[in-house]
Each structure stands twice: as structure tokens, then as C-alpha cells.
Symmetry: C2
Subunit: 408 residues, 2 copies
């Protein structure tokens, strides 16, 4: 069979960061091929290159987003796939560099953060059947008008998983090689006892991405979940297993909580009393969205004195949010900004059937006298916004409480 | 009419060599548009960029040529069109960056020196009709398998003229902005009295390109001639007329000779006696061609002692040519290499009806005791290979003899 042993393998900017690293990567792929694998390779731009290109464009116009911006920054991947293909050819491997237009990687037209709509997997399979290694530019697509689009930060991971989905008849494994060796139960820089997670479900991984874990882009996990693609996240530097991101049913350790995540980059706005009238809240959040402010947690409560509103945004969005509040709040309501906040969360599919998790979460914070500013929960996570100064203690205590600590 | 005043305008690497220059170019285009022009812009890569990309590829494999090489070096133009489009947008001009695949610039598959086969002009016209300025990546095409191809050095000029040809129903003018302000009667560095030529015919321009003038690529003039595109070659730095390259009939100064050109980079091989048998010469030149050696002038003569062969190549091809001669000449024939040669030529459509030019050409060289190693003539040019040390004298004398000297 010419189409067995197909594996989509994605390598980040570090793996193609210099000519020497590209040559090393080519050597590694030659070994995989000798071992019978049929790789479909996806690469990012050489490390630093995308930032260099963005800086060029922003020297002219820092605010412009549109076809020319995406065409500009997509050129980074064009260079790295070409170089890797040349390195493979030199080693006697037939390799074909491929751009989005050649594979029909169709996206919507939201430049700089486009979403993949479809990929025609047949072109890819045709190359593999002909004994050719496809070397695909990550991060890019084309829209209905054939303009180049880009998928946003982490977009090459999404490309890799979407290619797997397009050829899922032949292969359901996507290997993503990164600078970190695995997904951890928490950020090891904050929590020294954090340990690697061998297997994690799509839902948990998506929650973690949404909660600030930068390991994988949420869209990439979404596609994997939809098409049942098993992602193997592993180290670019060491040849060992990392973390498998798989369907929930697959023999996972049934922990109540799988990970503690945090985002130290939070600010909270409080508003009291909320101006009367049904339209106020929808107008406020519409205007914020239109200005590009991502509002994270929103809570609202009634009291005899009136309605209370609190919501969190990232630190960077504070000035813009303040400006929007000034424009929309025309009553004398008090607007309070609390900076230097952090969001701490626990994630785990085990919570679905164990309502006790929330109680233990609050108990741990209470025991350490850590006040909670806002809370939000979903079926598989609990998040609280607390003061930054309490973050390390809260995170370590929760990590221990839910039995996540590394066994020494 | 939305399609009158369309002008294809091509700008070289110097014009987009920095963000500042790109901003200046955008300002210049804004002025043209305000004056009623509808530009179709073609640009090269930022100066130095193509060489940087070639160097990256050659670090891996200096000999590789194929789809990955062309994809690599075509990325330079992708960056410059994107940046120029951003700069135009900033000035309120609707601009659309366009790559070869978007315009259907179809070429053959000879990577690194592909030839354009066809362009669908309708896409371009659609943009112009919608009030959008197309900003087209020069130098690149796509082949029948949708791989990126590149057109060789000077390829962006060819792109510009080919686009003019594709929309020749609407416009027959192609402006090419370069570092030199015009075509000269000779290289001013060699001949101080050289002057600008206001108008020159396609045939003369093609001969000049073939004879070593680097102002315009021969393929670009060929296409202009075929479709009757008037090329206006002019300075990137000054706003004034340069040289028009036009059909022969158009009111030219009817000089006998239009220009003196030279190529100081020549070597001559002589072979005596040529090995017997009909097949030798064809085999020799076939093998040279297969190895990529461009043989320029070939002369052959009979004598009682046997056949004599002489041919010229560029200096760079000397080692390879010597190797090929060693492999193909199996008799004891003498192979003589004469290095440090130069080719000096006079070009002019006026020669067609005036056979006296050759006589004057030889007289001038004879008067100065300059020996001629090989000679070749066409309908509109005479070339001689002479010692490099005689080049300046020969060139200046010929320039004066044929009334080309600047009037002080």
C-alpha cells in the first residue's frame, strides 16, 4: 500500500531557524522515511522571520490588515518550505514544496486570523502515492477571491491538523514538534512540581488553550476533535513521547482535575449601578467587540441598590476598554478598574460527574485568605480572578490539592 | 472610460529598496493617479533580496534548480508588492497585490529561466475597471502544474511588457523605470562621448541586449516587438524622458549606426585541424549546450591543411569548455585558448541598405593596428573579437567614425 504509514508532521520555526537546523531536520526525515514512514511535512517560517515581516509592514502602517498584510507575512513559510525541499532533494528524497493555492487550502476572508473551510486532500495523496514528500507551508490559506490569508499565531499547527483531517481516510495521526516536550499539569516556571501529561482529551486541551496555555491553538484542537485526529505533541529536540491529545474515551488516567492553568495578564472592571434599560449591556459588549477588545469573564448580580457588573480583559486592552466605558456609560455610575489581576483555573473532564471540585477549589483559596474577584465555571473547568500577588500560592496549593504534583 | 490612460509601470529593486523608497514610490504613484493615469504597477524584489535568497538556497545545494528554487527566490517580489500595496492603501488608494497564480501568468517549466506562454489580461482589467491599482509581482510565473517559476535576471521587465501585451487592447505603453536614465550610444564608462538615444527600434534593442548591453532583457523586447508595445525606458530618480523602444518605422533618426556595444568578458577557443567526420561539430556544440555553456560566435574555415574552428565563450565558461573539448576531441588536434578577449560591435538598422558599414568598421580597426580574432555579422550588426587591451581605443574610434559622439 502506497498510502499506509502516512503521518502529518509539523515543525515550528525553531526547527527551521537556520540552514544548519534545516539540514538536521532533513536528516531526521530521511531516517523516518527509511523506517517506512510516509511523512507529510508542515513547517512554520524560520524563527524570527514572521516578526521581521510584520515589522516591515508596520513601519508603513501599523493598523493595516488586509490581503497585502497576509501576503507579506505568508512569504516566511514560502522560504522555509523551499529550503527544506532543497535539503531533502539533496539527500535523494523526492520532495515537493507546496503553498496554500496549490493544495486548495480554502479559508474565509478574515485577514490575519482566517479560518480554514476546506482542503482538497486528493492533491496531497497524489504526491504521496507518487513517492513524493509534500512539504507544506503552514499558516496560510486562500480565500474565495484567491487572496492569500493567514491563520493567526499558531496557525501552522492548525494547518497540520486540517491536512490530517483532509486525508483522515488514510491517516489519523498528526505529530506536532515544539520547543516544549509535552503538555504539563501546570506551567513548570510557576509550579515546580508540574509534571507531563501523557494523554489528554480534546475538551480539556481546548479549555486549557482558552485559559491561556500557549501550547496549542484552540482552533487546531477543535478540528482534531471534529475529525478524530490524534495529535501527538512532542519535543523537537529529543526523540521521545510527549502528550497525546485524543478522544475522551481513550484510556486516560481518570483524574478529577487534569491541569491547573493561569493567565497573569488580567484586569477587572466593575460598574455599579449598571445604567437602566435592556439595551445597555448588549451595546457595551458590542462596542467592545467592534474595537477588538476580547472580554473574558463577565458576571452580573442584582442587589437592592441596583445591578452590579464585573468583567475581565487582558492588560493590553485596559486603555481601550476605559475609553469605551467613558463613551457608553452616560449615567453617574461608578466605574472601578482593578489592575494586577490573575486568572487561575482548574480543568478536567473528571469534574463532569463530581460536583465536589468547586467546593475544594474555594476551600483551598479560603484557607490561604485569597479573595476572589470574579468566578466562572463550565462543565469541565473552574476559573477565578485573584490578585497577582496570590497567584503562585494559589496555583501550587491547587496543584497539590488535586493530586497533580510530580512524584519525586 | 474606465480603461483609458492605463499604463503598465515597472520599478526595479532600487525603487523598493527600503521602506522610505517604497513610501516615495507610493507618493509618486498617487501623483500619477491624480493626473488621471491608471497605473498597473510591476515591481522587483527589494534590492539585494533576491541575492540573499539565492545564497540561502545555495548554502544547502549550489547546483539545485527546480520548483523549490523558484518558489524560494520568488518570495522576494511577494514581499515588495505587499509593502507597496500597504503604502498605497495608507494614502487612500485602493491597491491589490497580485502574484503570478492570481493573474494566470503561465510559463513553461524551465525553472530559473522560464518563458511566459500566456497571461489572462481580463483579471487585470477587472481590477482597473473597479478603480483598483494592481500591484503585480514581477519575475514570477506558474507552470502547467501550478508550480512557481521564475523568468531569470531581468525577468520583471519581461513581466511588465507581457502584462502590457495581455491588455494591449487597452494600452500599448509600458514604462520601465531603472537606475540608468536611458539607452546610450555606448557605455559611458568606456566612451565618455556616449549620448542618450531618444528612440530605438526593437531589432536594434534586441541586438544590443544580445551583445551584452544589460539595460533590457532580450525576451522583454521580443514580446514588445511581437505585440507592438512601446517601451519607455526612463530614470527612477528624475522625471524626464528616457529612451522609447518602438517599431522600426516610427520616425527615428536615420543613423547608419545607432550604438557601439561591447562585452569585455570573452575568451576564444581555436581548434585545428577539426577531427574528420560529419558528426563532430554537432556533437561538440550539443555537449556544450547540455552543460550550460553559451557559445557566442562560431567561425569555421577550410584550408589545404584541414578545417579550422574558432568560437567564443564567456570567461566563466572557460574551465567547463576546456573539459568538454578534452572529452570530445579524441584526435591529436591542437586546442588553443586565447583569454582576455573583448567583443566590440556596432548596431544599426541603417546598415540594412548601406553595405559600406563593414568596410568602415574594418578600416578603423586596421588604422589602429588592432588585430581581429573572429568576426560575425548580421543584417544590422557587425561584431569583432579583439584583445581587451585594444577595447577602449576601438570603441571610441568606432563611436566617432559613425557620428555617435555627443555634441558638446
Amino acid at each position: 500500500m502506497k498510502t499506509n504509514n502516512i503521518v502529518v508532521k509539523k515543525f515550528g520555526g525553531t526547527s527551521v531557524g537556520s540552514i544548519e537546523r534545516i539540514e538536521n531536520l532533513a536528516n531526521r526525515l530521511v531516517k523516518d522515511i527509511a523506517a517506512g514512514q510516509k511523512p507529510v511535512v508542515v513547517v512554520s517560517a524560520m524563527s524570527g522571520e514572521t516578526n521581521r515581516l510584520i515589522a516591515l509592514g508596520e513601519q508603513i502602517d501599523p493598523d493595516y490588515r488586509g490581503p497585502a498584510y497576509d501576503m507579506l507575512i505568508a512569504s516566511g513559510e514560502q522560504v522555509s518550505v523551499s529550503l527544506l525541499a532543497i535539503a531533502l532533494q539533496k539527500r535523494g528524497v523526492k520532495a515537493q514544496p507546496l503553498l496554500a493555492y496549490q493544495l486548495g487550502i480554502r479559508t474565509d476572508s478574515v485577514h490575519a486570523k482566517a479560518r480554514i473551510k476546506e482542503i482538497d486532500g486528493s492533491t496531497l495523496i497524489r504526491f504521496v502515492e507518487a513517492g513524493v514528500v509534500p512539504v507544506v507551508a503552514g499558516f496560510q490559506g486562500i480565500d474565495d477571491e484567491d487572496n492569500i490569508t493567514t491563520l493567526g499565531r499558531g496557525g501552522s499547527d492548525t494547518t497540520a491538523v486540517a491536512l490530517s483531517a483532509a486525508i483522515s481516510k488514510y491517516s489519523k495521526v498528526c505529530e506536532i514538534f515544539t520547543d516544549v516536550p509535552a503538555v504539563f499539569t501546570a506551567d513548570p516556571r510557576l509550579i515546580p512540581k508540574a509534571r507531563e501529561i501523557p494523554k489528554i482529551s480534546y475538551d480539556e486541551m481546548m479549555e486549557m488553550a482558552a485559559l491561556g496555555s500557549k501550547v496549542l491553538h484552540i482552533r487546531c484542537v477543535e478540528i482534531a476533535a471534529k475529525y478524530g485526529i490524534r495529535i501527538h505533541l512532542r519535543s523537537s529536540f529529543e526523540d521521545r513521547e510527549g502528550t497525546w491529545i485524543v478522544p475522551e474515551g481513550e484510556a486516560m488516567e481518570q483524574e478529577l482535575v487534569s491541569a491547573v492553568t493561569h493567565d497573569a495578564n488580567t484586569a477587572v472592571f466593575k460598574l455599579f449601578p449598571v445604567p437602566p434599560g435592556a439595551g445597555f449591556l448588549s451595546e457595551l459588549f458590542q462596542v467592545l467587540a467592534a474595537r477588538g477588545v476580547v472580554v473574558d469573564i463577565i458576571t452580573q448580580s442584582e442587589s437592592n441598590e441596583g445591578q452590579r457588573l464585573a468583567f475581565s480583559v487582558t492588560k493590553e486592552d485596559v486603555p481601550l476598554t476605559r475609553q469605551v466605558l467613558k463613551e457608553t456609560v452616560k449615567t453617574g455610575a461608578e466605574v472601578l478598574l482593578i489592575e494586577n489581576m490573575a486568572k487561575i483555573s482548574v480543568v478536567g473532564v473528571g469534574m463532569r460527574n463530581h460536583p465536589g471540585v468547586a467546593a475544594r477549589f474555594f476551600k483551598i483559596l479560603a484557607q490561604s485568605d485569597i479573595p476572589i474577584h470574579i468566578v466562572t465555571t463550565s462543565e469541565i473547568k473552574i476559573s477565578a480572578v485573584i490578585d497577582q500577588k496570590h497567584l503562585a500560592q494559589a496555583a501550587n496549593s491547587l496543584h497539590t490539592e488535586f493530586n497533580l504534583d510530580k512524584v519525586e
